[in-house]
């Protein structure tokens, strides 16, 4: 033990001792070391509000944002008219659902053949016969506008960052923070500058989905091999031509992955954006949950998952598909056969719609529903497990959660700072120690310390339980390839399934308390751990395993001494993702009833307090970024050591 301690770097050891001392000396400490004294708390929220008021009133940014939102609104009106017949220019819609289903099926066929065609047409048929067509089209009418905006913006910003180093240097930290800010924090400024309604929904979706596109553009442009550029230059291209005809096509795969990410992120926003007036599936889902119609909400959840799967597969197929080169001299008919088939299908669809109104619009009254069996199933399940959950609730609250929570709140803030700095030092020396302090100190300065500690406690408990469940389950699932892919599919589904639906059954099971909150967060945090455990174990090279088996290692030994150590870097990414997911979910869990940062965030949203919302958002983002820094630095250090050991051997 003393050996292990003395191997710690001296400053880290000193910091840990300091933390321990501060905890032990809690009763004689001056109050100033327990919680930051009132005069030192900085009014960040007021500063942000002043800055925003200045931007809005004195600089007249409002005029600019209103102009942008008018442009977006015009596009939204067009798609809204075409997709669900809102009475706006060009007054053509709504397009009958059979035509849209046929179009999507055709897109699937062209990009990846019959199976995708069936999946994608089938999804749209499901939406129609379940009577969700109008809602789904309201949602899609926003995504169809937001996604292209986001892609263009992403390419533009990504190109700028690629071209000018300085832009990249400024943009990188902004992107890091933007990707770890809770969604609600974005929404408040949007409400202030844009207002509410579909346009606000579209703009929030754009803001949320643009960062991955910027990153992928940067990555793609940077990865273009110099030989290609060289040959482009040799053909005498201008700068613009070089960009348009050489660099962008060469970065095609990365750009298309970026587009895929944009689409997925847009779908993830469907439910949340309805808080600021985005119509469609998300809004309907929230309304149904509000009156406890779980079966109907699950139907909508399934639709959202199906849409995500279809759009994901379609865009991935597009990324993988190589441009087709037909033999020269092929006739017009051959070159455009897909177009012709599509036109034929559309004509047939319009004819069908004219023949019978069912094929134009399926009324709610004609809709099929699965709600009855789902409700009965949920009800039966809750009745079945209630005795168990009652006991679990009592046990967890009395013996685990309340003591832990009190423990977290009991810690002097100075001890937490010292401990985290020590942890940083241990992982990455003085630099990491400073980075950790830079992340955690502003939280203390903001005056939200207690609430932040409750958030930390919730996330910690949820992630630990998620690890306890996810790791063994992942190890078991990775045992057979077929089982592994089945579990990955489950992970995909759980991840796109709107998280709000979990909240209601969880309250029915556990009531309004921390157990319910942690259960909801835990479900969400288990998914990445499960996924990355499976991926990590699957990624271990077969030769290594064979070599270990040949040297006489049993399956258990192979797992413990070969597979798991090699999978550690992937597992760390999983844990990292899990913390991020937990932080997102803990904010949403405010709808169950919490006393943490999420609850304050919800309040800030309903009183449109930009400053408070952003301060809380940054607090959450900083926690996430600190965990991210610690885990990734540790993993990198470990990899270096592993590499050194291997090369030494």
């Amino acid at each position: 033990m003393s050996g292990a301690l003395s191997r710690l770097p001296r400053p880290a050891l000193a910091l840990f001792c300091l933390a321990a001392l501060l905890c032990l000396g809690r009763f004689i400490l001056p109050d100033g070391l327990m919680r930051l004294p009132e005069p030192l708390i900085l009014p960040f929220a007021r500063w942000i509000n002043t800055a925003f008021a200045f931007l809005r009133d004195d600089l007249g940014l409002m005029v600019v944002t209103r102009a942008i939102s008018d442009a977006v609104e015009f596009c939204l009106d067009v798609t809204a008219n075409l997709l669900y017949g809102k009475s706006r220019w060009p007054m053509l819609g709504p397009i009958p659902w059979v035509v849209i289903a046929a179009t999507m099926g055709m897109a699937g066929y062209v990009l990846a053949g019959w199976r995708l065609a069936l999946l994608s047409a089938g999804t749209f048929v499901w939406i129609a016969v379940m009577g969700q067509w109008k809602w789904a089209m309201e949602t899609l009418s926003v995504i169809v506008v937001a996604a292209p905006f986001s892609v263009l913006l992403g390419i533009l910003a990504g190109t700028l960052a690629w071209r000018f180093r300085r832009v990249e240097r400024v943009m990188n930290p902004i992107l890091n923070i933007a990707q770890s800010l809770p969604h609600f924090a974005y929404m408040i400024p949007v409400v202030v500058f844009i207002g509410v309604g579909p346009k606000a929904g579209a703009i929030v979706t754009i803001i949320f989905s643009v960062p991955p596109m910027i990153r992928m553009t940067l990555l793609g442009l940077r990865a273009v091999p110099p030989e290609i550029i060289e040959s482009g230059k040799m053909s005498g291209t201008t700068k613009w031509q070089l960009m348009r005809s050489v660099r962008i096509p060469a970065a095609r795969t990365e750009l298309l992955i970026g587009i895929n990410q944009v689409i997925m992120q847009s779908l993830a926003m469907v439910v949340l954006a309805s808080f600021i007036g985005m119509p469609g599936l998300g809004q309907k889902l929230l309304n149904l949950l509000q009156s406890l119609k779980i079966g109907l909400s699950v139907e909508i959840g399934i639709t959202i998952v199906l849409l995500a799967v279809v759009l994901d597969r379609l865009s991935k197929a597009w990324a993988l598909k190589q441009p087709e080169h037909l033999t020269a001299g092929a006739s017009w008919m051959v070159r455009n056969r897909h177009l012709l088939i599509w036109l034929g299908l559309c004509a047939a669809g319009f004819a069908l719609a004219a023949l019978h109104p069912y094929f134009a619009v399926v009324e709610r009254k004609q809709a099929l529903t699965l709600a009855g069996p789902i409700d009965a199933g949920v009800d039966g399940f809750i009745r079945l497990v209630t005795p168990l959950t009652d006991w679990l609730r009592w046990f967890l609250i009395t013996w685990v959660l309340i003591p832990l929570r009190d423990g977290f709140l009991w810690l002097p803030f100075s001890a937490v700072l010292a401990f985290l700095a020590g942890l940083g030092w241990l992982v990455g020396g003085a630099r990491s120690a400073l980075i950790c302090l830079a992340f955690i100190l502003p939280i203390a300065l903001s005056g939200w310390w207690d609430r932040a500690m409750i958030t930390v406690y919730t996330v910690t408990v949820a992630v630990v339980i998620a690890l306890l469940i996810g790791l063994p389950l992942g190890v078991w699932a990775a045992g057979r390839p077929a089982r592994a892919s089945r579990f990955i599919l489950i992970c995909d589904t759980l991840q796109t399934f709107p998280s709000f639906i979990y909240l209601i059954p969880v309250v029915m099971l556990f009531g309004v308390n921390d157990v319910a909150v942690i259960a909801a967060v835990m479900v969400f945090a288990t998914v990445p751990i499960l996924r990355f455990t499976i991926e990590g174990l699957r990624g271990v090279p077969a030769e290594t395993i064979e070599a270990a088996a040949m040297s006489g290692a049993g399956p258990r030994q192979v797992l413990w001494h070969v597979k798991l150590p090699l999978a550690v870097p992937t597992l760390v990414i999983g844990a990292n993702q899990s913390i991020m997911f937990a932080l997102f979910m803990v904010i949403i869990a405010a709808f169950i009833g919490t006393q943490d940062l999420g609850q304050e965030m919800q309040r800030a949203l309903s009183s449109t307090d930009v400053g408070k919302g952003l301060v809380l958002g940054f607090a959450v983002a900083f926690m996430g970024l600190m965990a991210d820094h610690l885990l990734l630095t540790w993993a990198a250090g470990r990899r270096k050591k592993l590499g050194a050991a291997q090369s030494a051997a």
């Binding site: 509410v196 309604g197 509000q290 009156s291 099971l509 009531g511 309004v512 308390n513």
Partner: protein, 314 residues
């Protein structure tokens, strides 16, 4: 193009005749905000369909129920049909003071928000609805997190219901636990119903919950004006909040100031709109219990109640 000319002409006409003669309604859509509870959504659809029957164009936009007053003030939304005294009185008054929004009419319906219990609770604690009897039974409502004390499940903290103050003032044996959303409240009642567990929580009328789970409000010492500020008011001389919430809060209709000039006909209809508690509960029930879509529920209500609303449009 034709539309735009008409718009120009009618605007010009408006400018010339403001306040003197009834001008034509603007062809722009009247924007009705909808929130996250069904009676408001159905009522908005009912009034929206009444406007449509007059030839107006109507659009619905879903908004936060607190932020909506700011939106109406700026003209992003046109009117609000359910301004609850208890829940939104403050936001509404604040917006009125800033200008741009005004009080159009008051419904006959009264609103009440307070501690409430479903009927099966009374079997376990027969002295209800008296608050002292409730306090005697506090142990029945105990949960692991509240220890020996009873749990009162409050609404979200931002509803500012002062339940904790009430508990402190009346010295009740209860701990206030705040749910994060109305849905969490309903989920708790639904779970309690399965095992008929006693539960006391925040609720309000008019509301669909009355139709699904019959229940009663707890009777606290009656509200007196100033009970929340003046210790002398209420039964205890040295405490504030030593009383229940007002048992007959208002339910108002609010509108954007320019609605009067932009859609004068619709505005004159809106001034006559007036619903009762029973009518509002009926609207909510069509959606929450019968499972209809709000549009269909509104259409159904309009056909069944022509005698009620036809006179308003004449």
């Amino acid at each position: 193009m034709q539309n735009r000319t008409r718009l120009l002409i009618s605007t010009a006409a408006l400018v010339l005749t403001t306040g003197t003669a009834i001008a034509e309604d603007s062809p722009d859509p009247i924007i009705i905000p909808i929130h996250n509870w069904s009676s408001q959504i159905v009522m908005s659809n009912v009034v929206g369909q009444m406007f449509q029957s007059l030839g107006n164009s109507v659009e619905y936009v879903s908004t936060d129920s607190q932020a909506v007053y700011e939106a109406i003030r700026l003209g992003d939304a046109t009117l609000e049909l359910e301004v609850w005294e208890g829940a939104f009185g403050n936001s509404f008054r604040a917006a009125v003071e800033k200008g741009g929004i005004h009080d159009v009419a008051t419904h006959t319906a009264i609103t009440r928000e307070d501690w409430w219990y479903p009927m099966w609770t009374k079997d376990a604690c027969p002295g209800l609805p008296d608050w002292k009897a409730l306090n005697e039974c506090a142990g029945l409502f105990a949960t692991p997190e509240t220890g020996d004390k009873g749990r009162f499940l409050g609404g979200p903290v931002d509803w500012l219901k002062h339940d904790q103050e009430k508990v402190d003032a009346l010295g009740m044996n209860f701990v206030v636990v705040n749910a994060g959303s109305a849905a969490a409240l309903w989920a708790e009642i639904a779970a309690a119903e399965k095992s008929k567990t006693p539960i006391v929580l925040f609720n309000w009328t008019p509301n669909f919950a009355e139709a699904v789970w019959p229940g009663e409000f707890v009777e606290f010492p009656a509200w007196e004006e100033g009970c929340d500020k003046d210790p002398a008011k209420g039964p205890l001389p040295d405490k504030v909040y030593d009383c229940g919430n007002p048992a007959n809060g208002y339910l108002k209709i609010a509108a954007w100031d320019e609605m009067k000039t932009k859609w004068p006909k619709a505005y004159s209809v809106l001034q006559k709109v007036n619903f009762t508690n029973a009518q509002i509960a009926e609207m909510a029930k069509l959606v929450d219990v019968d499972g209809m879509e709000p549009e269909d529920a509104a259409a159904e209500w309009l056909t069944a109640n022509e005698a009620v609303w036809k006179p308003w449009t004449e």
